[in-house]
Structure formats: C-alpha cells, structure tokens
C-alpha cells in the first residue's frame, strides 16, 4: 500500500485540488503486476498513471529508465511531456523526461539508448524499433513500470498486438516490470485486462466515477431529413444555431469525403464571421497542426472532423459534440460525447443529427443504448500471425534467439496466449525460409540456426530493411496535393487510385477548397484554384458498419411498435409500411418482393451492416445468375440488400441456404479486390514486401511490381501458404465481413418471412435512391475498355 508523500499532498493542496479516488486507488496498487484504469476524458487519467512513478522517483532516483509511457499518438507524447514537467518543476523532483517518436533525431535516439531518461514517452512503433537493437537489453534493464495510454484504441488494431508482444519481450529483460493501462469507457473491461496483463498474471480493474449522465438529444428539424444519402445538408441552419449556443463545438462526421462536403456547405451558409475549421486524416500535417493550435488557443467556435479527433489531448473548452450521420457504433459515440466532458463534473452535451429517414431510427436506438449504458464491441480475435512474423524478425535483429524461449515469451502476451506451437513454428518457418511448399531457399534462408541451435539472420545487412518496415499501419498509396508554381506546404493527400481518374480541368474538394487538377509532377498532384462544382475526393478511410448491438436495437424498435419518440413524418412512414407489408422481427429475416414496371425487386432485411450486405449482395446475385434469374444490380445499406432483376425470386430461403452461401463465398473470395488489398497489408506486415515509405517512393522504377502479382501466384501455386491463411482470416472481418453473415444466418436459422408487396414498400423505397448501386458485370469491364479504346483512337485520328 503506497500512500501519497507529503510533498505531493502539499502540491495538490497548493493548487486547491484533491486527489481523485481512482488516482489513490492506482497508487495503492502500484506494486501489482498489472492494473487497468477506466476513466472518462478529463478525469486526471494520465496523472493517475504517472503518480506511482513520480512518488517512486521523488528522492534520489537511480540512473536509468524507470517508466515507459506508450501512446497511440506522437502528439500525445509531446503533450504529456509538457503536462509532466509542471509537477516535476513545481515539486522540484530530480526526474528526467524525454520523448522518442518518429520525429526524434538520430543522434538523440542513439543517446537515449545508451543513456535513457527516467521516463521515456513513446509510441508502439518506436518501442519496437528500440527493441530491434542489440543494446535493447541494456536500455531497458532497470525498467520498473510501463504506462499504456488510450489502450482501448490500441486494442482495436494490430498496433495493440505488436505492443503486447513488445511488452512480453520487455518483461523478459526486466522481470519486475509492472503494467498500467489507461482506457476510455469500453464494453468489456475484463477482456481488455486480459489483453494487457502478462498471462496468467491478475489484473485489477479500477473504474473511475463516470461523472454526470450526458445530456444527449436527437436533432429534430421542422423539415424531415431526406430519404437517403449521408450528406445531412438539410441540418446546417439548425446546426449553426446550436454552434452559436456553445463555446466550442466538435462536429463529428463519419467519412473524410462527407466532412469535406459538410464543411464546404457550412462555410457557405455562415453569414457572420464564425471561425470554424476542418480536420481529417488526409489533410497535411501542417494544416492539422494549425487547426489544433487554434483550437487550444480557443480561437475556433467549431471544428468539422472525422475520427482523427476521437483521441488526443483535450482541446480547449469543448462544450458541445455534434454527431452528423448515424453513429454506427455506440462505444465510439460514447467516447466522442466524452470529448465535451472537459470539466469533470459538468455533463457532456451532445446532439445526434440523422442524415436520412432510416438514421432517425438508428439515432434513437443509439441514444437509448447510451442512456442504458449498453455498449457494443466485437470481441477481439486471436493475435494476428502477420504481426508475430514481424516480431520474430525484430527479435532476430536484436541478436540470436532460442525458439522455445521465444514461444514461451510470446504466449505470455494476452493476444497470443492461445497460440499453438505449430502455429508459432509456421511463422518462424515463414521468416526463415518463406514457408513455401516448394522449398526453394535452402541456400538463402533469411534466418539460420547457428551451431548452438539459436536462430539468427543469415545476412546481417537485412537488419536495415527489417527496421525500415517496422509497424502495422499500412497506408493506402497516396499522393501529395500542392498549389502549382507556388511552393509552400502541401494541401493534403489524395489516394493514388483517385488521382488516376483525374484529367486536367477536373475539380475536387480538399481542405474545404475547390481545386482544379493541372497535372502530376514528381509524384505530386499540381492544382490551381477551382470554381465549378467539385468531383469529390474519394478517400478510402474506414467504412464503418452499424454494430450488431445497434442493429438488434433497431429491429426491436421497429417490431415493438412504440414509435412515440419519433416525429410525425417518421411515424407515418412506419405505419404505412406496416399496412402495406410488415416489420422486421427479432430472430427472423424479412424479405419483400415486388414489381416495378418490368423489373422484379427483392429486399433482404439482414441487419448485418453495410460491409456484410455488400458481400451478401455479390453472393446472392452470383447464385441468381447460376439459377437463371437474370439479376441486373443491387444496392447494400447497413440494414438491407435490395436486388433487382428480370425474374422474380420465389424461394429466398433456397438462395440463403448457408452451405451454398459458404461454398459460393470460398470461390468468390479468392478473386476479390478486397482480398488483394488485405493480402498487401498482411504481406507488408509479415515482411514479404516492403512498405512504401512516404517520400521515399522512387519514381520511374520498372523493377517494383504490384503485390497483386504475388497474391495471384500464391493462389495458383501455393494456396495453403501461411499468408493466404492469414488473409482469409482477416476477410471474415473488415470489408468482406463474412463473419457478420454467419452471425445473421445463425440468428435467423432459416426463419424467413417472404412478403409479396403490391408495389414498392416504404421501408425499401429509400434504397432505390441510394448511390453506390453495383451493376452485375464480368466481361463488362473488357467491353468498356474496348469501347473506350476505339473512341480514343478515333478522336486521335489514328
């Protein structure tokens, strides 16, 4: 039991503060091997994490590293450094704090490895790089504590898996190292605790006082929202009114493209000089820094942003959060609402703006869930093996290792505790020989066993390439956008695939401005001021699907028939649906069929999320083609798939037969573009191909070739290869999301209500207006290319 030393309590008193209960709880457990603190934003979470360190180091601290702080954001490391320096300075503590991120100079990094500070602030990737050096064991020898900030965010991606492998490696170097995780509200704290702690160490969970209930509402405007679309432009007058009632507002929008459009529309609607700004991941670092600085200085009244502001330091006095578009996921909504919880004891204020009719239902379902504190989340899968492959290579860089010892160490980490020895050996074999059925690399193995039985790099020069490739974030290939002939900082980035569709004179939105494409120079997109209506920049970003829990709640709302919270236009809409057709029911699937002119429409209300529905649409239309039902196209939303064709579907149950769907899936999946993208990520992380480093990409090289070629080659000659297995596993989640289809099939167990409606139904009508309809094609692409080619030849007079 550690008590707060007098020096510290005096310091608290001098500021007129009192130590929070969760801060003293964490201090009391400072000798536990692992502790997880769950606290809302603004709850003094970081100080809680550092108090044990500061008290342990208050008198005569020994030389060397005591505490390692890891956060997902570089900016956070810099901010924490400033925050820590205040108490250290004011209490005159003999503690040295430094940060190490990608921005730290080489000399600085080298010195830090030889002479580390007491507290080192870093990111998962920087930590992995430090562990790849032979002197890592020396650097971390005296390590006592590690503090993981925003661990809930890290746990959502492979960065978390990599970090946990690194912690296991650290624990081998410093057996007494204690772990603390700091997290925002999550649905399953024990799972996060298991993720954090060394297996099988215990990990206490401290829940801080969540503060007062949030004040959360749905924006109901006089004019109803449109039937479809995600623009929500209708809401701008009301949103501006709300912004004027608050000091600072964060306006969250789900995608970058929508954020650009919404910002543009708000900008045009502002009559007075209301200072607002735009912030998203495709803007240049310089542009984002400027917005963040203005925010801290309190110079902005509102920021239109995407998930980029989900995390990070507290920005000024945010007292209102507006979520435009359906929140898709309750946990993220709660975390976003928390961004306005700047003062610990004031309730957060939040408003949800549905972008269309269906989103009114989703917004209501989300609001109910927030009030009932019913959080969603997909359970974490097992630690991904591509990350393990990278970890094995990192360990090889640091020096020879013993396979048995490394296996024991890896399985001590939460995400890999159920990894089997054969799975581990397959990863080791991949790193050593490539793991191919054709054993071609006996002479040129990457890793060799030395006479003592330890594994080491065959060619020590390989360390350089391996270090350059460290990290699990694989970016889509982007190009910088700059003003032509004006020099200066880039405006932002667009995806290479989008740039390829541009010709001179095309206009697009970036950073809220309309720009005109002039050409490509040295891998930079040159633009001038544009005037006409923009084409929209297509950022891949993440396309979130509505969570399972939220979908279930929507079905419950529809089925229960209590629509009193809804405005009259929404109630009317649902009542007409009930009269003409029916309502989706829990545990069943509703399927509606009707004709419009000579086209047969069928709508499958799967409630499995957009990505799974997209996949389902592709699978169903494939099966319809086989059955001679002549499908023409389909459209998928978060709630349903609408398919149209020349012939009516009479037996939807047969189309939805699970076994046939699974067989169809396996065949379809292999050639899928999403699979190729997943493969590229997996192959990059596992070290088969090198990461495209920003700015390092060489131009005019014919030697590099696309990862699609490797994918196709493996599929043809080595279909059981480890990397294809990993790619397949990933396809069950994410953009292909077959896991959600399986879940849906289990939920409905063949119980299908097929309704023949007299005409288009109110519930499915909005889908007819959706953009993103998928035409059924195949030979169609070749045909289009041929037509285009002959047009071009004719134009050129050739």
């Amino acid at each position: 039991m550690t008590k707060l030393p007098a020096k510290f309590s005096d310091w608290f008193t001098a500021h007129g503060w009192e130590i929070h209960p969760h801060q003293s709880d964490l201090l009391a457990r400072s000798h536990d091997p692992a502790t997880l603190l769950i606290a809302p934003t603004g709850g003094g979470k970081t100080l809680a994490g550092f108090l044990p360190t500061l008290t342990e180091l208050a008198d005569n601290p020994p030389v060397g590293l005591h505490t390692l702080y890891v956060s997902p954001l570089k900016a956070l490391a810099a901010d924490i450094k400033r925050n820590l320096e205040t108490p250290i300075h004011e209490m005159n503590l003999p503690i040295r704090v430094e940060s190490r991120t990608g921005d730290t100079t080489q000399t600085q990094k080298k010195r830090q490895r030889a002479d580390p500070p007491h507290i080192l602030l870093t990111t998962p990737e920087s930590l992995a790089v430090m562990l790849s050096y032979e002197d890592g064991a020396k650097t971390f020898a005296g390590l006592q504590r590690v503090v993981i900030d925003e661990i809930h965010a890290l746990a959502e991606s492979k960065r978390g898996d990599q970090l946990m492998l690194c912690l296991s490696a650290l624990q081998s170097i410093a057996p007494n190292m204690r772990r603390v995780g700091l997290s925002a509200t999550v649905e399953d704290p024990p799972a996060l605790a298991t993720f954090l702690a060394r297996n099988p160490d215990p990990c206490d969970i401290i829940l801080a006082d969540p503060g007062p209930e949030p004040d959360i509402q749905i924006l109901h405007t006089d004019s109803p929202p449109p039937w479809s679309g995600a623009g929500a432009a209708y809401s701008i007058p009301d949103v501006l009114k709300l912004v004027k009632t608050a000091k600072t507002t964060l306006i969250f929008i789900n995608t970058r493209a929508q954020a650009e459009l919404y910002f543009r529309a708000i900008w045009e609607a502002i009559e007075d000089q209301l200072p607002i700004a735009l912030h998203h991941g495709s803007l240049s670092r310089e542009a984002r820094d400027k917005v963040e600085a203005a925010m801290v200085a309190g110079a902005l009244r509102a920021v239109v942003c995407t998930g980029t502001l989900d995390l990070g330091i507290d920005w000024g006095d945010v007292d209102l959060v507006i979520q435009v578009g359906a929140p898709k996921n309750i946990k993220r909504l709660v975390q976003r609402i928390g961004r306005s919880n700047h003062r610990y004891n004031a309730p957060s204020r939040a408003v949800i703006v549905p972008a269309n009719r269906f989103e009114i239902l989703e917004a209501q379902a989300a609001l109910d869930a927030v009030i009932e504190n019913d959080l969603d989340g997909e359970p974490r899968g097992d630690g991904p093996r591509d990350v393990l492959c990278q970890h094995i290579l990192i360990r090889a860089c640091a020096g020879p290792f013993d396979a048995d010892t490394l296996f024991a160490e890896v399985t001590q980490s939460g995400p890999y505790h159920s990894l089997t020895r054969p799975e581990f050996d397959a990863c080791l074999d991949f790193c050593a020989t490539g793991g191919y059925a054709l054993r071609a690399y006996d002479r040129w193995q990457r890793l060799l066993q030395n006479p003592a039985g330890l594994w080491q790099l065959r060619d020590p020069r390989a360390t350089r390439a391996i270090r350059m490739n460290i990290g699990t974030i694989v970016d889509t290939e982007t190009l910088k956008v700059k003003w032509r002939g004006r020099g200066g900082a880039p405006l932002g980035e667009i995806e290479e695939s989008f740039a390829a569709t541009l010709t001179q004179g095309d206009t697009f939105l970036i950073g809220g401005q309309v720009v005109r494409y002039e050409g490509l120079r040295e891998m930079t997109v040159q633009v001038t001021k544009g005037h006409k209506a923009p084409k929209i920049a297509t950022f891949m970003g993440t396309k979130f699907a509505t969570s399972t829990l939220l979908s279930t709640r929507i079905i419950d709302i529809l089925h229960a028939g209590d629509w009193s919270p809804f405005p009259a236009h929404t109630r009317d809409w649902l009542q007409v649906q009930n009269r003409i057709s029916a309502m989706p029911k829990p545990g069943r699937m509703m399927v509606e069929s009707y004709w419009r002119d000579t086209t047969a429409y069928t709508c499958f209300y799967g409630f499995a999320g957009r990505n799974a529905h997209q996949t389902l649409g592709l699978l169903l239309t494939r099966r319809m083609e086989e059955a001679g039902l002549n499908p023409i196209g389909f459209v998928a939303t978060d709630y349903a798939v609408l398919i149209w064709g020349l012939d009516a579907i009479t037996d939807p149950a047969a189309l939805l037969s699970p076994d046939d769907l699974r067989t169809g899936f396996a065949g379809w999946l292999a050639g899928n573009a999403v699979m190729k993208r997943s493969f590229r990520n997996v192959a990059t992380i596992a070290g088969l191909i090198e990461k495209n480093l920003p700015g390092k990409r060489r131009t005019g090289r014919q030697a590099t070739f696309s990862s699609d070629i490797l994918y196709n080659t493996l599929l043809k000659y080595d279909p059981d290869h480890l990397l294809l297995q990993i790619t397949q596993t990933e396809a069950m989640r994410g953009l292909v999301d077959f896991g959600r289809i399986e879940e849906m099939l289990t939920r409905i167990k063949g119980r299908i209500d097929h309704i023949q409606a007299p005409h288009v139904t109110p519930l499915s009508a909005p889908m007819l207006l959706e953009i993103g309809k998928v035409p059924i094609k195949g030979a169609a692409i070749e045909k289009a290319a041929a037509v285009r080619a002959s047009e071009l030849m004719r134009e050129a007079g050739l």
């Binding site: 071609a440 040129w444 090198e690 014919q702 590099t704 080595d718």
Partner: protein, 220 residues
C-alpha cells in the same frame, strides 16, 4: 491468339495480347524481359523470400505461345535472366521445360543489362540481331529506325467508367516497337514517364495486353 497487326518498315507484325511480338512471314516470335530467377536473386542478396514460382509461371506462359504458333525462330530480347547466376538457380523442371521449347528451332538470346556476359545455355548469344529491315536489341537507341526493343517494361492506363485499367503494353510508332516485359515478376514504367519522350514519335500508340490487344494513343 488475339493480336494487333501493324506495319514497321514494310514488315507485317502482330502485337499479341499475351505480350509477345509475332512476325508471321518469318515465323519469328520475339519476347522480352523474362527475368527468370528473380526471386532467387532477391533472396541471395538478403532481401525478401518471394514466392519461388515465377519461373514456372513465366515458362508456362511462354510454352503456351510457342505451342500455339510453332515458330522457326525465337528471340529473347534481353534480361531473360535476372542476373548471370540466375541460370544456375533454375530447377530441373524449369531446365527441361526450357530445353523442350528450344529443341528444333533457332533460339537467339540478346544480351540485356541484367544478363550481360556469358551464359551456359544453348542457342545463339548476341548483343543485337539484324534481319531484313529490322534490328533487335535490348535498349532502344534514340535515332534508330526499324528497331525492336524491350528494357523499359512499358505500361499504360485506359479510363473506363468504373475506374481505370492498367496493363503492360507495346509502344509502336513509324520507327520502332518497344515490347512489354513478359516475366511474371516484373513491374512497369508508365508511358507518361519522361524516358519515353525522346523515343516515341507524335503518333505513337500503346497496345495494352491482357485478354485482348487494345490499341490507344500513347498516354503522355
């Protein structure tokens, strides 16, 4: 086999959709940049261990064309091997496949920048080869006339409604033709690259390979 026919120095030639050049009157087949042994070479140099199947893939595709056309002469236009040691790295199956293709026909290996030097394999080894009005060499020369070359791995894109389609391509004008790379593990250089501007004339076309041979004005 689908192809695009054109005339160079009064010679009728066909750019095959599979990426090879066919001179029907002479029964001459020309292919460039096979880069056999690429994965082995990368591994030898301490790089990635790529799937070691590209030789099999490249040779299978080559055999397909040879069986279909039964050429009298085959010209490999350079960079047939990723380096001089790559030949030794071919496995026995690759060697016998190659030998079967070479048997009973004239086979000319033109030297490229990757495989310049002596190679211990049958056939004729030349720096360049002239026949009729045409010269076959690895790297194009700016002022040559009637030249067939490779080296650059040209590729081009054509825009269609649903995005754009990028394929390896032939580049053809009145004075020369540049062949696409045939090897399985080869990337490409976009025709918009400045390297092509001194070589290709005003009216140059690009013939995209793939399921069909698609001629378009060369994108610059």
């Amino acid at each position: 086999m689908h192809g695009y026919s054109f005339i160079l120095k009064s010679t009728n030639l066909t750019a095959l959709s599979a990426g090879l050049l066919w001179w029907a009157d002479r029964k001459l087949l020309c292919v460039s940049d096979l880069h056999l042994g690429k994965s082995e070479r990368m591994a030898r140099r301490g790089g990635s261990l790529l799937p070691p199947y590209e030789n099999k893939e490249t040779l299978t595709r080559l055999a397909l064309a040879i069986n279909a056309l039964d050429p009298v002469t085959v010209i490999c236009l350079g960079d047939s091997f990723d380096d001089l040691a790559s030949l030794d790295a071919l496995d026995t199956a690759d060697h016998s496949n190659l030998a079967a293709m070479m048997a009973g026909r004239r086979w000319i290996w033109i030297e490229g920048n990757h495989d310049a030097g002596p190679l211990n394999i049958g056939g004729t080894h030349l720096a360049q080869f002239e026949t009729g009005p045409l010269t076959f060499r690895h790297i194009a020369k700016v002022n040559s006339n009637g030249e067939i070359s490779g080296h650059y791995h040209p590729k081009a894109s054509v825009k269609i409604k649903s995005g754009s389609l990028t394929r390896p391509c032939f580049l053809i004008d009145e004075t020369r033709a540049i062949l696409p790379a045939f090897g399985a593990y080869t990337g490409g250089l976009k025709t918009t690259d400045p390297a092509f501007s001194p070589l290709m004339g005003e009216n140059a076309i690009a013939v995209l390979t793939g399921a069909q041979a698609l001629p378009i004005p060369m994108p610059r």
